[in-house]
């Protein structure tokens, strides 16, 4: 069995366990009721999204430094996964927010930062695709990915302060005291998504490497 198949199988098993823990083996929340189960998929997608952004930053810096096409394949793959998972984070967050808060969206700093990141990483993919030369596109896409990742803390805190200094946030997420089965479900699904991320990244890198060879380098 290849490494990729091992990772894929492990991700499948862990995800199945996480779904069981999240839907069956954990109790409903005192405040949110059963809706807390959406958190077991929302929090891990957000975690994975930021993992993908961090990977883009590290791989992008390594690529610009070493100019090794393998790092480019990694940067490109991580950028694409960052778009995928920031998008899923926004979608699952909305699906949770609508029944619990009564709104699809609030101007919470985490939401705005994630949405801005989604747009920046979409732009990174566009720059890569529209560059007149794929090798130049690789460099430019890495630059946008790095710039976006470096800008994240600045964006996050400026939005936090922008929203809180003038008006208190209309809806605050209360402190959620997690019972052990809930914490277990959350940690298990974070672990499952981390392995899933590793599997997707490895698969995407293989595709990128093979397509690069097909293009003649």
């Amino acid at each position: 069995m290849s490494g990729s198949a091992v990772l894929g199988t492990a991700a499948m098993l862990l995800l199945a366990g996480a779904v069981y823990a999240g839907l069956v083996a954990s109790p409903p929340d005192a405040f949110q009721g059963d809706y807390v189960r959406i958190m077991y998929v929302h929090v891990p997608t957000a975690w994975t999204a930021y993992l993908a952004v961090a990977t883009t930053l590290v791989a992008g810096v390594l690529f610009l430094w070493k100019r090794d096409p393998r790092y480019d394949a990694l940067t490109r793959s991580a950028t694409e996964l960052a778009v995928l998972f920031t998008g899923l984070t926004l979608a699952t967050g909305s699906i949770w927010g609508r029944p619990v808060w009564g709104v699809w969206w609030t101007w919470d700093a985490r939401l705005v930062t994630t949405a801005i990141l989604f747009l920046i990483y979409c732009a990174a993919l566009l720059v890569r695709a529209l560059a007149d030369d794929p090798r130049r596109g690789a460099r430019l896409g890495a630059v946008v990915g790095i710039l976006g990742a470096v800008d994240v803390p600045l964006i996050h805190y400026s939005v936090v302060w922008f929203r809180t200094l003038h008006q208190p946030p209309s809806i605050t997420r209360g402190e959620i005291a997690l019972a052990p089965p809930m914490l277990r479900a959350l940690l298990l699904s974070v672990l499952a998504f981390t392995v899933l991320f590793a599997y997707l990244l490895a698969l995407r890198v293989r595709v990128a490497r093979l397509e690069d060879v097909g293009d003649g380098g």
Partner: protein, 42 residues
């Protein structure tokens, strides 16, 4: 909508997106892989 539907929506959306993405990557992998080299390089 009942809680079960919202939960199904969230889980289903993530599962379907990831599944479609994996299937697409696997198809691209098959297309990009030169013929006759299956399993030669992993």
């Amino acid at each position: 909508m009942t809680p079960a539907l919202w939960i199904a929506l969230a889980y289903g959306l993530v599962a379907a997106t990831v599944l479609l993405y994996v299937l697409r990557l696997r198809r691209r992998l098959r297309q990009a892989r030169p013929h006759g080299r299956e399993g030669g390089k992993s």
